[in-house]
Symmetry: C4
Subunit: 394 residues, 4 copies
């Protein structure tokens, strides 16, 4: 499972350190340097955009790009911070997991590495589709536009890679001179940013799956006890100890991860709001509609997925309650009482810096809030929407 995670981290961003056992964190290491190079590269773009926006004036529309880059930058910093604590955390985790691989706990239907790998592969595939759709949409729009403009306005723009980059990433070139190298560099950084942006959510999901799996094992074990006639107190003592330890592990993971969770949530909420706001916008070409709808569904789906996956920890941690409540008077003991009390009163879940806990109820509340925001924003955006499409060739 840990292997899966570490593997997943590295190739995607090319910036984390390897070796699941001898994991170390050094500031002077190759992955660290790669990360720093990437961060510098992307911060150049961020600054370009910032300057560009300050020149033409910030609006809600063109602000999206800025938010995107800032999020990615923050994510990088948070991941570096996470990397610092990762070695000790992963050792603690691995040590704790030894218990769960042995007999009293059984391997569940789909084992852990399968569970962790599956969403990773799906998310990666879908995000690849999303990014390639984005590129196709941009390229097709660009081509159609050139075609249209040359026909109607005698504009002499030719269809070329250089021109495409210049038009689509127009915020870069007031500051940097255009060379083909810089064009490629801009495309690369944009692509990598998109991956990191997806990776943040993916990482939370994988960690959640890992933790939820262990709570599920505990629940399963308790459920097996249901049909036994006489359960010694020591068994419950052992189970409770493992449960408490898992809670502590969750606490430690949460301390390290909750910055990323907070960023991911804020980021997802912002982009979902933005995309939902654009539903009624008119677009010019069919491919834009395809990209837009796919992108929106992908975003909403990914956000829901992250929340629901994280909420499974909470669900699983409580799932054994119903069995424990059926423990008969004969088997009743202080340990069972303590376990029930803890399960009932403690919120076992990943959190966003303890400001909120990722549970199913939260998702419901958030959905309500998003609808409110959307309704107000739609009204706010009414005048822009009525204007319709801007003229194509300025």
């Amino acid at each position: 499972m840990l292997l899966g995670q570490c593997f997943a981290i590295m190739p995607l961003t090319g910036i984390r350190r390897a070796s699941p056992r001898h994991v170390h964190f050094r500031f002077k290491s190759v992955p660290m340097i790669v990360t720093l190079i990437f961060m510098m590269a992307s911060s150049v773009l961020t600054l370009c955009m910032l300057k560009y926006l300050l020149n033409i004036g910030v609006t809600a529309k063109n602000f999206v790009g800025q938010v995107f880059f800032t999020c990615v930058q923050c994510a990088c910093i948070l991941f570096i911070d996470l990397a610092r604590h990762w070695p000790s955390l992963i050792r603690y985790w691995t040590h704790l997991e030894l218990v769960f691989t042995k007999p009293p706990y059984e391997v569940l239907k789909r084992n852990l590495s399968q569970r962790v790998r599956q969403p990773a592969l799906i998310i990666i595939a879908l995000s690849l589709v999303e990014h390639s759709l984005y590129l196709s949409s941009a390229i097709v729009s660009y081509k159609q536009r050139v075609k249209f403009c040359t026909q109607n306005y005698n504009s002499t723009m030719g269809v070329s890679f250089d021109n495409y980059v210049k038009v689509n990433y127009d915020y870069v070139f007031p500051m940097l001179p255009y060379t083909r190298l810089i064009g490629v560099y801009v495309l690369l950084v944009n692509g990598t940013c998109t991956f990191i942006w997806n990776y943040m959510d993916l990482f939370i999901m994988m960690i959640s799956k890992g933790l939820a799996y262990r709570f599920e094992q505990i629940s399963k074990r308790i459920r097996r006890l249901e049909h036994e006639d006489r359960v010694p107190e020591t068994t419950f003592m052992e189970i409770r100890e493992h449960y408490v330890r898992m809670c502590e592990l969750l606490e430690r993971v949460d301390n390290v991860l909750s910055g990323i969770i907070l960023l991911s949530c804020a980021n997802n909420l912002y982009f979902v709001c933005c995309q939902l706001l654009n539903i009624f916008n008119k677009l010019r070409w069919p491919i834009n509609y395809v990209y837009f709808w796919y992108s929106m569904l992908y975003l909403v789906g990914r956000t829901a997925c992250v929340f629901l996956t994280a909420a499974t920890i909470n669900d699983e941690s409580k799932s054994a309650l119903s069995v424990l409540r059926r423990v008969s008077s004969k088997n009743w003991c202080v340990e069972v009482e303590r376990l029930i009390f803890q399960m009932s009163t403690q919120t076992v879940a990943l959190s966003g810096k303890k400001f909120y806990f990722l549970t199913r109820r939260l998702l419901f509340g958030m959905a309500g809030t998003i609808v409110t925001y959307e309704l107000v924003l739609l009204q706010f955006d009414e005048p822009n929407r009525r204007k319709g499409l801007l003229p194509l060739c300025a």
Copy 2:
């Protein structure tokens, strides 16, 4: 009680399987085929409408029909899924209920089948009134319009069944050729859809009544113990066991039903918001006002009814708490303590996929949210409202 439910399911939609004892679910069965035929029939209409909407442009107003059809389709799928789990669930339920039909538990004032049948009959009657009002409203409007147009614009439209269907279900006929058969088919499908739409809520209410009844019996039994001097621990043990079993049954029912609950809630909220939004719209004929107000009150009433009926489960499950708190020191035992603790800390209620629990507090929160939505939507809709009525003969 189960008979009542199964009977109620079948005749209405004609799509579920019979036999309360030997209930089976087979994909290859007559009711299944009927359901599938209906689903295909209605999906043809859904697609017609979708295409029609994409042609003339989606607005908040004409989107309502699309939502209606999509809801009905989803409801069908969810009911088929429910049907798959129904046989095992109903066997478990019947088995569990045997305990509650015997002496320690008494039959309550109005017995279960009365309780279940009564709301069913009321809802069905009211929905029949609603649908016939809808039809009268549509027919009267149509007639008046034809009359008005022939008088003032020399239009030659005659009042005929064919024409009525063509005008009222105009979204069907760009795709399908008009024959009288198709006209009847459109009317039939629309009627059936309305019934399924009502049936969803009715089903939730009946299940809730069934569960709440059992919790009420437990409460009643506990209340009878209040005046007894000396209650043996085994009595409380038995009561607690029954309570826990009922909670488990609720859990199982909830797992199977919560998809339908979620759909029903979303659906009700959407239509309540829509109808409340239309309060200030001007309508042309008095019959339209009658239909509109009746429809709105019916909808709001039905929604409140579903929520409140479902909330009775939660209310009943806690109603014995006050008696248990009065248990004197003499009768106090671990079993009573466990029962009190469970009643205090567990949320015993049907849920919408665990995102929210159907309790009285939820209804209060929802009311507040709906008011907020309404206020924003009313403001949003201001320009449309000011336009007033469209010209009658285009």
Copy 3:
């Protein structure tokens, strides 16, 4: 205390039955007849207004009067329903209170009847000021208007009582012919309605004070035990029994009263929103400003008062917790544990039909909600506000 309440009920509305001990409820009694006469009298006005509104078109502004009359009508019906249950409730209450008048419980600083009478007198005084300000405001506006119109437009309206009533209650006279008797009748009914409207809140406050006082006595008794060295378990048993009984009394009162609470809350929220919305309206004469601001502050103050007084029940019921938590190991027993558990987990408060509980937290949530509503409503009302004052002499 009960005397105070019964007295307070009767003279104000002149519609409830007397005699604190032998309280009975008969449909055929003098107070009942008075009530019914009043209800018919006011329903005539309600219908007049309804017809008038349907003629000139309903707007948010002129709807206020309709809501006012409908609230008063509902309040009457709810009070009659309350009166039906009152005799048995008051006997139960009086019986229960006997315990609290004897030694182990001491009389608190300000005794109960003082506490109950004080807010009653204040509210009645303030509401009298409010109503007389309303009348002065209406009369002065009317006089000024006549003066202004005769000067500028040669209108020949004279200042007379008949004319005043006709102008101010213009909704009555399309339906009823004007005679001086009917004029007086309209004024009387309006005055009585205002009193009932205030009385609803006053009643809730007095009941709350009565209940909170008893919980305070229990808390006080527990607090006295703090410094005793050795407390026998029987003492705690007794205290817990009294506490549980008080909770049961609260439950019974709540069942009877929660309809009125729900109405009062909805009513207060609606009028507070309306009045806050009118803050930015321009008024013509200084006396209108005086009335308007006084009325608004009175309304907000009264609403806050009702909520806070009702919330004291909740506060007092928990106030002994901190002392119970200090009970030393020596005195620790199951009874203390049960008492602490009950106090921690049970929400002891009056409720609005169990949809919400009147606690301090609710007030906070409501304040937030009102601000949201106000902001949206203000925006909604913008166009009306910009129009300014209407011409005086139409």
Copy 4:
């Protein structure tokens, strides 16, 4: 620590009494007189502004100043009220703290006086920067304006201190005659008001740090017990007693402080909303932008800081729970059970008059609410924003 607090109170506002040990409160004392003089001085300004506003008409924009002055006045009154209860509170506190300075409790990494002093110094420094930026911004705007107006409109305004004060505090001089003394007095009162305004938040933070520190010590002590093999029940008894006492101290502090907390929160929310609303306003000179953004960030930062610092009390009070849950069966006793139960069910936190508790969850809820308000307000403010800058020389 107490010294730090008392010192911090006095020099800033010059209005509280000294001597940490023999703290007394007398109405007839020098600090009291100073306070009263200041209050009168500032109330003169408040009244000037009120009269000025009533003359030119109240708008959301010019209302800010009025709110500012009213807040400061309320803060003064609340601080005087606090001062009345302070001597007895501080004696109780000091007495209670003796326990925590002795061996079983260890001094934490950064000791208390460091912790209390540090935020005080930072806040004071930042607020000084803020006020000087405000002054520079005002002066530069004034100078530029004079320069611009003399060039373009031949206005003969000279740049002078007198003129500056007249222009910037124009609300004062319709009521008071201008002399240089009054000019200085106006500046001084404004400066002092700003300090009191900051001091309110600072005071809450320092008290919070003081309380959180003690809870942290208790947690630390419990955490040390984790590795001990056999812990006697008396140890837990002692810890629980200290914990309960700390809760009582918190309760007392809260009773005295919660008025200030409520004012501070309302005040911060209002100003944060106002400042966020002004984000899109155009300003004339760069220094205005610098001041505006610094001021906004300072305000948001300070508000977040107050909330988070106050929330640490809640965090620390629960931090020992995870250790207590690991207490093995051997060491398990009633005292541990009671402690766990209390920690789980009691909300240990400062509150705003019990309407809400300052916890991390509250901050999350508030953030959501602020966003809603902002969205509605932005829309509301749209027309004003579109107008752009007013002409400079009127």
